[in-house]
Amino acid sequence: MKVVIMGCGRVGAELASMLDREGQEVTILDLDPDAFRRLPAGFGGQRHVGNGIDQEVLSRIGVGEADAFVVVTQGDNRNVMAAQMAKHIFGVPRVVCRIYDPIREELYHKLGLETISPTKVGARLLKEALEREPVSRGSSD
């Protein structure tokens, strides 16, 4: 599977390295060349410096032939725009987009994007952790 990842932050780099270890064909894109230092030493995928909401850049790095596109930059709107370009202009079969803002995440999910809100997921996991073993300081009194 050919996967393009936009944004080489912690999440992007971790995902790229996981997929690379599994033997997938990984391409990772970031605006900042320094971001690639987050990739492990043996990373076998391609690295590209460029702006992912520029149609020419996406075309040059092969988004048109990708099986999947994952967009995890820091900017929700940037992610939304890049994801829609990959889906509607390049016809990538699988597009997954990170949106921190839960309201925007719900809206774009309704509009047909595959979205993940780390805000919602994170809060839910933390709440579940708290509820797993109900404890209370006062309960032993």
């Binding site: 709107n77 940037r78 725009m81 370009m85 509607h88 803002d101 925007r104």
Partner: protein, 233 residues
């Protein structure tokens, strides 16, 4: 009309000022507190400090009753999202986006934002007008149909100089709408209007016929080039 302007930079500021003077109810949403405050000081209590793409801010701003949203920040992705959320979540009837990168015009259209304004493209077109190698300037793309209004300057040595408009072979679906002579005098042309060197021709044509239209008006009067232009369609 209640109009919300997203982005209070130079474009947002002057746009809001104009809209207020025209008597509209205007609200400018601006992320930068200093800019938001400056608008409030100079234009009155019409600015809201916040993120115009954040749904809670949009609710507070009353997007639900806005008749028009105009997104004019310096970032195309923010303008896109502000317009998409305004339309999809708040059912705002009209959303206009400023485009900074002219390449994004087509993309915005594909993503459902039909009305875009590209300052960069407008500035380029104006500069191109001054460059002799660009004798055709696209002025305005008409909605749908692939038609546009263009301006062509007739060179002094063009083959069409001295010819009647009716005798010029134009590409299909092209109409000469206006001729402005060297003195700046505009004329609505009729079939007997004779072209002069230095005339500016404002014409409607199909985008794909731009080149054909340009060569019709700008080809030099060389010995071999007069052939087809003598014939009527």
């Amino acid at each position: 009309m209640y109009i919300i302007v997203v982005g209070g930079g130079k474009v947002g500021y002057y746009l809001a000022k104009e809209l207020v003077e025209e008597g509209h109810e205007v609200l400018v949403i601006e992320k930068d507190k200093l800019k938001a405050d400056r608008i409030a000081e100079e234009l009155g209590d019409i600015s809201l400090w916040g993120d115009g793409c954040e749904a809670s801010t949009m609710e507070m701003a009353g997007f639900g009753r806005a008749e028009m949203v105009i997104a004019v920040t310096g970032d195309d992705e923010d303008n896109l999202v502000a317009c998409q959320v305004a339309k999809a979540k708040f059912n705002v009837p009209r959303a206009v986006a400023r485009i900074n990168n002219p390449k994004n015009e087509e993309i915005f259209k594909k993503l459902g934002i039909d009305t875009t304004v590209s300052a960069t493209a407008a500035i380029l077109a104006q500069i191109e007008q001054e460059i002799p190698t660009h004798p055709l300037i696209p002025l305005l793309r008409l909605k749908g149909g692939g038609l546009e209004i263009v301006e062509v300057k007739v060179p002094m040595n063009a083959a069409v100089v001295g010819r009647r408009i009716d005798d010029i072979l134009l590409p299909p679906q092209s109409i000469v709408a206006l001729v402005i002579d060297k003195e700046g005098e505009p004329r609505v042309p009729n079939t007997d209007t004779v072209m002069q060197g230095g005339d500016e021709v404002v014409a409607v044509t199909r985008t794909e016929n731009e080149d054909a239209l340009r060569s019709a008006f700008t080809s030099a009067a060389a010995s071999g080039s007069k052939g087809p232009k003598d014939k009527k369609r």
